[in-house]
């Protein structure tokens, strides 16, 4: 119920901020097997949307004048993973969208092995055409259901230094990618110095269930939120990193992240501050499992 005004607010702000405030143009429209894809030019931003309803949130945006600059707070927040694993050798991104996050990792760490998993081949095409996605020997996009892909990767004993969960459909996160069992499978793919980052929303009843589910697998985690954003990013490092290290790493990587407009020192301070904060969700909320996952029904 409070979703729409919030998205509208976000969208309006976004449009106001961009140069040609109200110019909107549809660049591409396609009904794929999994959703309806719309690529829109909004001012100087090009955005990917997954449906046509009014106030539909953008899945990915790229600023044509500053293509590196990350438009959304959650993509910027995801890069806080570098505070825990500053030199990743391997990165897994579940859910491609416009590819903003894996593209950034590929640019920052050209020798790192990057895997992105995306269910919809049409999304991959759109990311290539409009969002500057260029796959290479080091950067592979796998077209498959993330749950299936993860299970296979688990059986092949693959390990990743950074794993980012960012799979969204037009509605929310697919239900089979929110369960305790899935999170356990993901956990088994983390390397010894790995860190898990999950992009979620903190706007509905589901927040409590989702948080309790993450806590059941990862124990305590950083409940990373920033002002004026409905996003909540879960950050769960395998090995605990102390406050000083987080703050000093922020200083080290600050320059590197500047073109992406990531306020990493601010993020480091927020993370340090939230470390010992009590959970703000109902800890007795029922955990989501493969047996019990009415997730998107809880989203009211």
């Amino acid at each position: 119920m409070h979703i729409k005004p919030m998205f509208c607010l976000g969208l309006c702000l976004l449009t106001l901020l961009s140069a040609n405030a109200w110019s909107e143009k549809i660049l591409h429209e396609q009904r794929s097997l999994h959703s309806r894809l719309i690529v829109k030019q909004i001012g100087s931003d090009i955005c990917l949307q997954f449906n046509i309803r009014k106030n539909q949130r953008n899945q990915s945006c790229i600023n044509t004048k500053h293509p590196k600059r990350m438009v959304f707070s959650y993509t910027r927040m995801s890069m806080a993973s570098l505070l825990f694993t500053p030199n990743p050798e391997s990165v897994l991104v579940i859910g491609l969208g416009g590819g903003t996050i894996p593209i950034a990792f590929h640019e920052l760490f050209p020798t790192a092995h990057i895997d992105a998993v995306e269910i919809d081949p049409a999304v991959v095409e759109v990311a290539k055409k409009y969002f500057g996605l260029n796959t290479s020997a080091q950067f592979t996009v796998h077209i498959q259901d993330a749950r299936v892909w993860t299970k296979r990767a688990q059986r092949a004993l693959r390990k990743y230094d950074i794993i980012i969960l960012d799979a969204f459909n037009g509605e929310y996160i697919p239900e089979h990618l929110m369960t305790q069992e899935f999170l356990q499978e993901i956990q088994s793919l983390l390397s010894k110095r790995g860190v898990l980052v999950a992009n979620t929303f903190a706007i509905s009843e589901l927040y409590h269930h989702e948080s309790a589910t993450y806590a059941s697998v990862y124990g305590s985690f950083f409940n990373f939120r920033v002002a004026q954003s409905a996003n909540r990013v879960v950050i769960a490092p395998v090995v605990s990193v102390d406050d000083e290290t987080i703050l000093s790493r922020a200083k080290q990587i600050k320059a590197m992240l500047k073109p992406y407009a990531i306020p990493i020192t601010g993020y480091a301070k927020t993370l340090v501050r939230t470390r010992n904060r009590n959970p703000d969700w109902q800890q007795d909320a029922r955990i989501l499992t493969d047996q019990f996952s009415p997730a998107n029904l809880l989203q009211r």
Partner: protein
């Protein structure tokens, strides 16, 4: 239909929830029902009665249960052997759902045989039967997808379905006894 919906849930962790998984499930159900109709029709020819009818329910209740117990290892086994998620899901759906669905498919034609009293009314009886079974399917689908998944685990819902089938067996058995008695009483008079 409730069973079919839950099938999607059971398979999602191994094969995803893409269109091909639903394609596998729906085709396996349709294929199995087709076979069930044939067998049910055939069975209804010799000495049809409510007791035998009840045993179909009992058998389907029992055969539904392995799904609760063995779905995970079975799917894992298939997952490791079949790379292509289309054929993997088709194989898994066949293995998990085919036998209980065949048995469930036997119910409709057998019911027609038990309910039809005359050729003139056979169409009407069949119509009512389709009405009841299709309406039941619709309500079962709604109840499962709207509410049951909010309250219960998938396995609990499957157990509930299985329990309902056992209740149907009991009802059929009781009605069989009742009609037998009436039949005997009528013969005495």
């Amino acid at each position: 239909m409730s069973f079919e919906l839950l099938g999607g849930r059971v398979m999602a962790p191994y094969f995803g929830s893409s269109i091909h998984v639903w394609g596998s499930i729906i085709s396996v159900f349709m294929f199995s029902l087709a076979i069930g109709y044939l067998i049910g029709g055939k069975l209804s020819v010799s000495k049809p009665n409510a007791q035998r009818f009840g045993f179909i329910f009992l058998l389907s209740a029992i055969l539904l249960y392995p799904l609760v117990l063995f779905a995970e290892p079975a799917m894992l086994w298939i997952f490791d052997r079949v790379e292509d998620p289309r054929y993997g899901s088709l194989l898994a759906a066949s293995f998990l759902f085919m036998i209980p669905t065949i048995i469930l498919g036997m119910i409709s034609p057998y019911s027609v045989r038990l309910l039809v009293r005359s050729v003139e009314h056979s169409g009407q009886v069949a119509g009512r039967l389709y009405f009841a079974s299709t309406l039941g399917s619709a309500l079962g689908t709604l109840a499962t997808s709207f509410y049951l998944v909010l309250w219960l685990e998938v396995n609990e819902i499957l157990a509930l379905l299985s329990g309902t089938l056992v209740v149907m067996f009991v009802i059929a058995t009781l009605s069989h006894r009742y009609f037998e008695k009436q039949h005997i009483a009528a013969n005495k008079n």
